[in-house]
């Protein structure tokens, strides 16, 4: 047997010694061929096994980054639609007034001009139920209005001054465990038309809304320009429901009214006219409803531009009826909201505008559970937009005809388009994460209900109308704030300590100090956090003067002691050799600390009126018990050992001949330190600080426990913060898997990952350079 067989079974070992050795071996013991073969196989297996194992471990580590990335990517994906069916509008031939869909997209509803209501299957257009509204003989529908989509409430105004309020509703049942949706019409008050206008003039425009208490308000305008408000209040007693109806006349604006919208809190009435103005009425108390202001909501053309000024072609409230989107005949899309101005007056203010369409906007309809909306125009284009993130998620030419309605399903996963020739187009929509954009995550956003654009993180919702606020700025600022104060505390202590330990301390003491500090590194941060939160934060609050006096007195005291030490006779001094300074200082430091704490109440009484915390509030500083000061010290404590041990290594490893040369030339030890050692070791110190920073940025438990976790965007040392990592720990458990919030938390994990990876890589590269440098000196 020779080397060849060895090679066929497994690659030979890399060492040049082996072939020699094995050939000698084979010549001596020929019968052992089987064993040799087996050994070769084993060698191969081992190589293969270790190779596969090792590589796969490394791949697995890379997988972390990849997986986080995969989870984040869908956040930035645009919306898409898929065409399912097109069919002539089911039911009567009269023009369509309104179409809608229920939650499971099994039943659609269409209201037509002749008073027919048709329920049908959205996928096929097959009619499921047909009903007629109770319209008297010889009376026509002259206007139509819908409430907030979730209420499924619609109102039709008639030519005799009466109107009908009706709800398209459905029953859910589960015969044989299969869902069955049965549509129906519900009349909240009466299945007969109700009097709207006392003079019996045709109703040209109608708006309706249902409040949370069941109250319904309707606003109507008549063809002679009058504006009326009708309020139905419902009182439920044990035995009966009582409905009272009250009508009020409002001062009508002197224009042609064509749109009426009432907010869900029953406080605002917005009247749109034919000239591009919206007139705002305060109607919380209808008896003295007040006209507040008129505001032009579509921009005028410039003086030199030809043609007429653009008009409002459609406008709709978004979910929650806090802000509205106005579409103009110039294709513009703007979002407006009632905002308090400097004089505390609510004015209609434009808060953002969206990518305009090229043709006049024909339809705007909001989503049912998010702040998004769908738009359509006269040229057959549709757009899907989202207000908070200021995104246009889809912009597409859908139909070669004017689109009259574009209507989303309640879960925003289905879409109806109704074109001018009364054909209904049914689409499936995929629009999972419209809420995020670079703008929404990192820039100031004008949220609903706020007076100006802000950075905010408010992810949890109490109600459906809640607008989630996903700005990562407060969290990132919080992270940096915590890291900054921690580094402020840790860096001087750790570096100075390392300088002393590596260069001036006696080896005996060093042998105790270094491992102790290294053990400190392994101390679970949950313990530091709990001490900071439960013991240190109240302590600091009660002894604020002590904290500041320690800061000043400690260095002074140490220096003073040093000076005194140099004054005592050399004979006494020499009983303790140099290198033991730190040990001598221990009692001094303990004494200074103790004295400061004991003096604290006295200082408090003398200078701060007995309560320094109150004093801070009086001079306008917010003081939280669990604040950045506490976090800074606690986290600094966690970072000190990291910085210390790397710095200490870097300084200790500075080649001895450099320092000895310097000392031989007559430099003092301190001069040698500053001019030679620190300079040589500076890359090492830099990398120590970077690694410390990486640790401070990612630390979770300390910030979680030692701050109030309020996401504020400031650098006040006496206020708390919420960091990216603590935010993940707090909120990850309560998110819906795969939802936007869930993915945004993944994004913040990715941001953390990237941040620390960058810090660590810089540190590592610098450190490797240093190592090379030492080797060459």
């Amino acid at each position: 047997m020779s080397n060849e067989s060895h090679e066929t079974h497994g690659s030979p070992p890399e060492s040049p010694l082996t072939p020699l050795a094995s050939s000698g071996y084979s010549s001596l013991t020929a019968p052992a061929t089987g064993i040799r073969k087996w050994r070769g196989v084993k060698n191969g297996i081992s190589r293969y096994f270790v190779g596969v194992g090792g590589v796969s471990v490394i791949i697995a580590l890379g997988l972390i980054f990849l997986y986080l990335f995969i989870e984040v990517v869908p956040l930035f994906r645009a919306a898409s639609i898929e065409h399912i069916a097109t069919y002539p509008a089911p039911g009567s031939d009269a023009p369509t007034l309104h179409v809608a869909m229920e939650r499971y997209m099994e039943v659609g509803v269409r209201f037509a001009q002749d008073g027919s209501v048709t329920f049908f299957d959205p996928a096929t257009g097959e009619v499921k139920l047909e009903e007629m509204l109770p319209i008297p003989e010889g009376v026509e529908i002259t206007s139509f209005g819908a409430g907030e989509p979730r209420t499924q409430l619609v109102a039709v105004g008639l030519s005799n001054g009466e109107f009908i309020i009706v709800q398209h509703d459905e029953d859910l049942s589960y015969p044989d465990d299969v869902r069955l949706v049965t549509p129906k019409l519900v009349y909240p008050f009466d299945d007969k038309p109700m009097a709207g206008d006392d003079q019996g003039r045709p109703i040209t425009s109608i708006g309706v809304q249902q409040g949370s208490g069941g109250t319904i308000k309707a606003a109507i305008s008549t063809d002679d320009g009058r504006l009326r408000l009708i309020e139905f209040s419902v009182r439920r007693t044990l035995f009966a429901t009582e409905t009272t109806r009250n009508a009020y006349d409002l001062d009508s604006p002197d224009t042609t009214i064509n749109r009426l919208m009432i907010s869900m809190d029953m406080a605002d009435l917005l009247v749109g006219d034919a000239e591009g103005y919206v007139h705002y009425y305060r109607i919380r108390n209808p008896a003295d409803a007040q006209f507040m202001e008129s505001q032009r909501v579509v921009s005028r053309r410039g003086a030199q531009a030809l043609g007429e000024d653009p008009e409002i072609t459609t406008m709709k409230y978004l979910l929650g009826t806090v802000s509205l989107v106005v579409g103009g005949s110039d294709g513009s899309l703007t979002q407006w909201m009632l905002v308090r101005d400097d004089e505390n007056v609510r004015r209609l203010t434009e808060i953002r505008s969206f990518t305009p369409h090229e043709a006049p906007i024909s339809s705007i309809n909001p989503e049912y559970s998010r702040k998004g909306f769908v738009t359509a125009d006269d040229a057959g284009n549709i757009g899907i937009h989202f207000s908070t993130s200021h995104r246009t998620l889809l912009s597409k030419h859908a139909v070669d005809d004017r689109i009259r309605f574009a209507m989303l399903s309640p879960r925003a996963n289905g879409l109806f388009l109704l074109d001018e020739s009364e054909r209904l187009h049914y689409y499936l929509v995929r629009n999972d994460h419209p809420q995020t954009s670079f703008h929404a995550l990192w820039q100031q956003v004008w949220y609903e209900g706020y007076e100006d654009p802000q950075y905010r993180w408010e992810s949890s919702s109490a109600t459906d109308e809640f607008e989630p606020k996903f700005s990562l700025v407060p969290l990132t600022v919080g992270t940096l704030k915590a890291a900054f104060y921690a580094m402020l505390f840790a860096t001087p202590l750790a570096i100075m300590g390392a300088i002393y330990t590596a260069y001036f301390m006696t080896p005996k003491l060093r042998g105790i100090v270094k491992p102790s500090i290294e053990i400190m590194e392994a101390l679970p941060t949950v313990i530091l956090g709990f001490l900071a939160g439960l013991w240190f934060a109240p302590f600091v609050e009660n002894h604020l003067p002590a904290v500041f006096s320690v800061l000043i007195l400690m260095p002074l005291g140490i220096l003073l002691f040093g000076l005194l030490w140099s004054m005592i006779p050399a004979k006494t001094r020499s009983t303790i050799p140099p290198g033991w300074e730190a040990a001598i200082l221990v009692p001094v430091i303990i004494f200074i600390g103790w004295a400061c704490v004991k003096m604290s109440p006295l200082l408090d009484v003398w200078f701060f009126g007995g309560d320094m915390r109150q004093w801070f509030t009086d001079i306008g500083l917010t003081y939280d018990q669990r604040n950045a000061l506490v976090v800074g010290i606690a986290m600094g404590f966690a970072v000190i050992p990291t910085i210390f041990s790397i710095t200490e290594d870097a300084i200790f490893n500075v080649p001895k001949h450099l320092t000895q040369g310097s000392l031989a030339l007559g430099a003092t030890p301190w001069q040698t330190m500053m001019k030679i050692v620190i300079l040589t070791a500076s890359p090492g110190i830099f990398s120590a600080v970077m690694i410390g920073l990486g640790r401070a940025v990612g630390e979770t438990m300390i910030v979680l426990m030692a701050t109030g976790n309020s996401p504020v965007t400031n650098f006040n040392i006496f206020e708390g913060m919420r960091t990216l990592s603590a935010n993940i720990a707090v909120e990850m458990g309560e998110t819906e898997v795969g939802g936007t919030h869930y993915r945004i938390l993944f994004l913040s994990a990715l941001v953390l990952f990237a941040l620390t990876f960058v810090f660590n890589t810089i540190a590592e590269i610098v450190r490797q350079r240093l190592r090379k440098k030492y080797a060459s000196i």
Binding site: S46, F504, L534
Partner: protein
Amino acid sequence: MLKQWYKSGSPYIWLNAGAIAISMIMVVGLIGLIAVRGLSHFWPAAVIETTYTVPDEEPVRLLGTVRRSETVTATVVREAGFYVPEDQMIVTRHLLQLGNRDITSRDFAWYIGDHMGEWTYPENALVLERMTWGNFYGYLEAILEDGEVVAEGEAAWDELYERVARAVDLRQQILQIERYDIGGIAYQQEQIRLAQRRLELRGEDTPEAMAELEEQHAALQEEYEELDLHRNDLRRQMDRDSVRAETAEGRTVTIAMSDIVRAARPNVMSFGEKIGHYVDSFKEFVFDYPREANTEGGIFPAIFGTVLMVIVMSIIVTPVGVLAAIYLREYARQGPFTRLIRICVNNLAGVPSIVFGVFGLGFFVYFLGGAIDDQFFQAAQPAPTFGRPGLFWASLTLALLTLPVVIVATEEGLSRIPKSVREGSLALGATKAETIWRTVVPMAAPAMMTGLILAVARAAGEVAPLMLVGVVKLAPNLPMDGNFPYLHLDRSFMHLGFHIYDVGFQSPNVEAARPLVYATALTLVLIIIVLNLTAIAIRNRLREKFKSDSD
């Protein structure tokens, strides 16, 4: 002279010395603080009695132990609603543990030192540790059996200790039955339900098979009823005795013996008795289950969970980490690529642990766990088995987190093996595999041990990722018990670190929980310090050994 002193650089050296001295004081102080607070929790502190007289108010009698005292400014105390005379600037106040939460709902309260009368230490002061409502403080009056007085006065004390011991013994028996016997039956019944569902899913639910399972179920039910009877009997026996005592306000209360965990008479106990009490409390702390929303009782499930999680993690991380290190050091061609990988592995050690938690939750729990459930645990659905946070996923996540530690330590160990050893082995005819597995790896074993211990120390102290992947505040069952398959990797578990966070920050009565948190923290710190010292010792010995080998 001052100038000369400054020029010599000595002030800076003193400042630097100060920095390291401060750091050391902080480390020692911190550990000392935890140790003192944690250990003093079990000591039966003296009970003081005093009258508290606030001007213009009725004097009140107080009975309790002093938990903390502090000196603060009068303003702060006034703002907290206490009366302090106008001219007084500084006030000393004491935090008293008065217990009796069920009676007064003020078990901890601050009192101004100046309003307190003389402190006395009444001999018949009684401290009862109870199952519910925390401690009781009062004066012992009598022992009752079935409502009849059996002992009064001094004789009542001996009777009390004896009957408390009996009640504790009975409670142990009841707990034994509930936790193991009844718990086991419930588990088996659940298994039968799952078996039935499995048969249904497979379409094999023949009447015979179902009836057989039904029969097993019924047999178990019978067994359960028998145990239940026995348990009720024990309960009745436990309810026999009660204690009559008077509170500080002068109210007479009767406390059932079944509610008492431990009785003490701190003002009379001798030092030896106090030690006995201390050891007893400490034993309960380490070996018992928590009570009262984790604020009382022991931390055994947390210790058990931490240790088990760490063991499972070690089993996963050691072979994988060692394999990767051997590959990197022995097989991979050394060059820029391996250097890059080394930098990445190093950096991964610096990635925040919460990121690993997020990854574990998303990838392991929801993605892998969900897939496993769909494949193998259809019968249990819609309840998730592996598709929810649990022991296995927590261990796996921490294995990933500590992988860099093991790789780096092992690589360092391998690189320390002198080249001569390898060459010698190859020269004697060993193949590369033999050289590595028989010579190099055994020699590097201590380094691997060091890596593993460091990994274990890190894993034991890590909390943030565990909050996402498997730790709960109160686990109904230990992840290991007498029911097949004995080790339940899918169960969620309790953990020392999370216990600290939860009890210290989420519990409704922080003041009552505080000593327990310190004691838990001390346990955790001790475990970790011991592990680290071991690692350091091994590392140092290893260095010495190879220094002499390579010479």
